[in-house]
């Protein structure tokens, strides 16, 4: 590989749509989330630079590693989480087709997005403190609850579009806009499952502060905690972009600056829905969440898949 071809690849990973873009937009979305929630709750909310200030403050603080834990793993985990999220961003269309687009990238993204959750579990488990251990167990239990509905909800649109390529699914819905209406149940399930993935109310069970203080991150501090928080923010961007591409037709055929603007507006709209879910309810218990995901969300997804298969056969005839 020559330097010429290596350079753009590096820019993709480091700048756009990789680390820098994800971090900047992730921090913006964190502010957007906090501000919207504040307005809905009749509060003022933080100024726009608050997430940046929080991150800078955390980066400057001392890192304390518990004596009893596995030091190397404890320190490496936040970077694994960030790397997995940044890699998954490369396969998601931002203003045009994704940087790396191939048949089956949908499956790859789903698996890459599981890695941060696994690092959260390992982070809690390797901390060895009681609160973190309980948090870690909850992370894993929660993973088994929301992961299946999330995957099932994404299969429906893929079957309808007849492809495993995210960019092609977005393209399909751009040209067949009316089919988007049939995806509303799947979209709702995906939003709820995403809420579980991002560990937000009503599924912020792993780090429920009234019960287990900081949950899996209890022992984390300083730079390492900052990177974990950043990974969660980035995951929100990727999650919103994924929902946008799969259920809402991506950029709707717009290119360049206009396409980018459409992307921003639509991901913010997805985040708006996530905020709405967050402020409308309280936290549920882990057993209630597992029951809800398997008894309500999973069957709903199966119904969605059946509907999509039905539409597809109708179309072929």
């Amino acid at each position: 590989m020559t330097i010429d071809s290596a350079l753009p690849a590096l820019t993709y990973i480091l700048i756009f749509p990789g680390f820098v873009f994800l971090a900047a937009y992730g921090l913006f979305l964190q502010w957007f989330d906090r501000r919207l929630a504040a307005v809905m709750q009749n509060r003022v909310g933080p100024p726009w630079y608050q997430p940046v200030a929080d991150l800078v403050k955390l980066l400057a603080k001392e890192v304390i590693v518990p004596e009893a834990c596995d030091t190397v793993m404890f320190k490496a985990l936040p970077y694994f989480a960030i790397a997995a999220v940044v890699t998954s961003a490369l396969m998601i269309p931002v203003w045009t087709d994704a940087v790396y687009s191939f048949q089956g990238d949908l499956v790859v993204v789903i698996y890459l997005l599981t890695i941060p959750t696994v690092t959260f579990f390992l982070a809690g488990w390797s901390s060895t403190s009681p609160y973190a251990t309980i948090g870690a167990m909850r992370v894993l239990t929660q993973l088994f609850a929301y992961e299946v509905p999330l995957m099932l909800s994404i299969i429906g649109p893929a079957i309808l579009a007849g492809t495993w390529n995210i960019s092609e699914i977005a393209g399909f819905f751009t040209s067949h806009k009316i089919y988007m209406l049939a995806q509303i149940p799947g979209l709702l399930v995906a939003l709820l499952a995403l809420q579980g993935k991002l560990e937000r109310v009503p599924f912020d069970i792993p780090h429920a502060k009234n019960e287990i203080v900081g949950g899996q991150f209890t022992e984390y501090s300083g730079r390492l905690l900052g990177f974990f928080c950043l990974a969660v923010d980035m995951e929100m961007v990727v999650g919103a972009a994924l929902v946008n591409a799969i259920f809402l037709g991506g950029t709707l055929g717009a290119f360049g600056i206009l396409g980018f603007a459409v992307f921003l507006v639509k991901t913010m709209a997805v985040v708006f829905l996530l905020v709405l879910l967050k402020v409308l309810m309280g936290r549920v218990r882990i057993d209630q969440m597992v029951r809800f995901c398997w008894q309500i969300l999973a069957p709903l997804c199966l119904a969605q898949i059946l509907l999509d298969i039905f539409i597809k056969t109708l179309n072929l005839n």
Binding site: A37, M40, Q41, N42, R43, P130, Y131, T133, I134, M137, V201, P202, D204, I205, A208, K209, N210, E211, I212, V213, V279, L280, M281, G282, R283, V284, R285, I286, D287, Q288
Partner: protein, 397 residues
């Protein structure tokens, strides 16, 4: 799965005051629990013996930041009983009014805390915003938001003007409107129901056996309310219902408190319309007694008991306080056993605990199996030595 012991407190996000619950967990399930008190014993009773009856009002007001009026009213009633002072009817009405406004502010505060403990922050923000209305009323009446300082021996310190009356009625209308919304929210919202129903069960007979008081007892269908059982102030002239619920769980306690809000609004209207003409205080001599009196008062958290003994000087010989939280602690350990870790904050919050109001300290020698009694000077010496061992020297203070 192996058993795990986790501490909840004395410093914990779910607790606003220092107390420790040691929980033995099997997975998410609790198999054993213990309550440890004594982190914030302030020696209020002892301090009360060194102050005059009048000064003690302001000390006793500071037992609790939320039910401050309950404690002072209970205390001054004891003192007036010993002094055989006849409190004017108007003063009694004003005391009742502030007492009911205090109940409204305490129950709204509790509703917010309950929302916070179940992760429902919107409920927390909403109730605390609306609570400002009643705090404004209290400020209007007494000049203060939290420690009203309206009681004095023989009556009250401030009168209520017709202007204040219309202002309170105006704010009451807003609160009534909002409370309708909370009744609807508390009984219909899915996550609130999921987190409160069948959580922290306290059956009727256990509630009686463990001596639960206040809304905790009433949610277990125990008809226990000092305002009805032994009416004090002007409660015998007011028309209100005793709210009980039969679900025995946190949901019942929520419903009882929210419906008590509605009853309190009703009472505040009645008091404002009743308000007899006349003086607001009578003169009581500074030196009282000898004699003793014990009184009960229905604080927002339950039955509050004060005992005062006077010996003819201007200082009490003994003042004794039993805050309602003390009576509810035995029920907490029953409610925690067998529950889930996720429900612990809800169960503890459901008794509306006030740790510092109720704190007790006792020196127990495990070797000789005896309780040791310390005098004031001995205790001071013991404290200084204890901290010297930790490297802090207080002996020069």
């Amino acid at each position: 799965m192996s058993k795990m012991t986790i501490p909840l407190g004395p410093q914990h996000p779910a607790l606003k005051e220092p107390v420790n619950f040691t929980l033995v967990l099997e997975g998410e399930q609790i198999t054993g629990s213990a309550v440890n008190l004594g982190y914030n014993h302030r020696g209020v009773e002892k301090a009360a013996e060194n102050r005059t009856f009048l000064q003690d009002i302001y000390l006793i007001e500071r037992i609790c930041g939320i039910c401050s009026h309950s404690h002072t009213t209970c205390y001054v009633t004891c003192v007036e009983e010993i002094a055989k002072a006849e409190v004017p009817e108007r003063a009694k009405a004003i005391r009742t009014l502030v007492g009911e406004l205090e109940r409204v502010h305490s129950h709204l505060l509790w509703l917010g805390i309950a929302g916070y403990e179940m992760g429902f922050e919107t409920l927390f923000m909403y109730t605390w915003r609306d609570r400002e209305q009643v705090l404004d009323c209290l400020e209007l009446v007494s000049g203060n938001r939290v420690h009203y300082g309206i009681n004095t021996i023989g009556g009250v310190r401030r009168d209520i003007t017709p202007g204040q009356k219309t202002e309170i009625l105006k704010r009451l209308a807003i609160l009534e409107e909002r409370t309708k919304y909370y009744v609807k929210l508390g009984t219909e919202e899915a996550t609130v129901l999921a987190r409160t129903q069948n959580v922290g069960l306290l059956p009727h007979d256990i509630a009686l056996e463990r001596g639960a008081v206040g809304p905790t007892a009433r949610a277990s269908n125990v008809k226990r309310d000092v305002r009805k059982d032994a009416p004090y102030l002007i409660y015998d002239k007011l028309d209100f219902n005793l709210i009980t619920h039969n679900t025995n769980d946190v949901f019942g306690r929520l419903v009882v408190r929210v419906l008590e809000l509605v009853e309190s609004y009703k009472m505040i209207r009645q008091i404002l319309n009743y308000l007899p003409e006349g003086p607001i205080a009578v003169k009581v001599p500074a030196k009282i007694g000898p004699g003793e009196a014990v009184n009960r008062y229905e604080a927002p958290r339950g039955e509050d008991i004060h005992y005062v003994k006077a010996n003819g000087t201007d200082k009490p010989e003994r003042a004794k306080v039993r805050a309602p939280t003390m009576a509810n602690y035995p029920s907490v350990s029953y409610m925690l056993d067998g529950g889930y870790l996720a429900d612990v904050p809800m169960v503890i919050a459901a008794i509306d605990p006030c740790m510092s109001c109720t704190d007790r300290a006792m020196v127990y020698n495990t070797k000789t199996d005896k309780v040791q009694i310390y005098g004031w000077d001995e205790l001071r010496k013991y404290g200084i030595e204890q901290y010297k061992k930790k490297g802090v020297d207080f002996s020069k203070l």
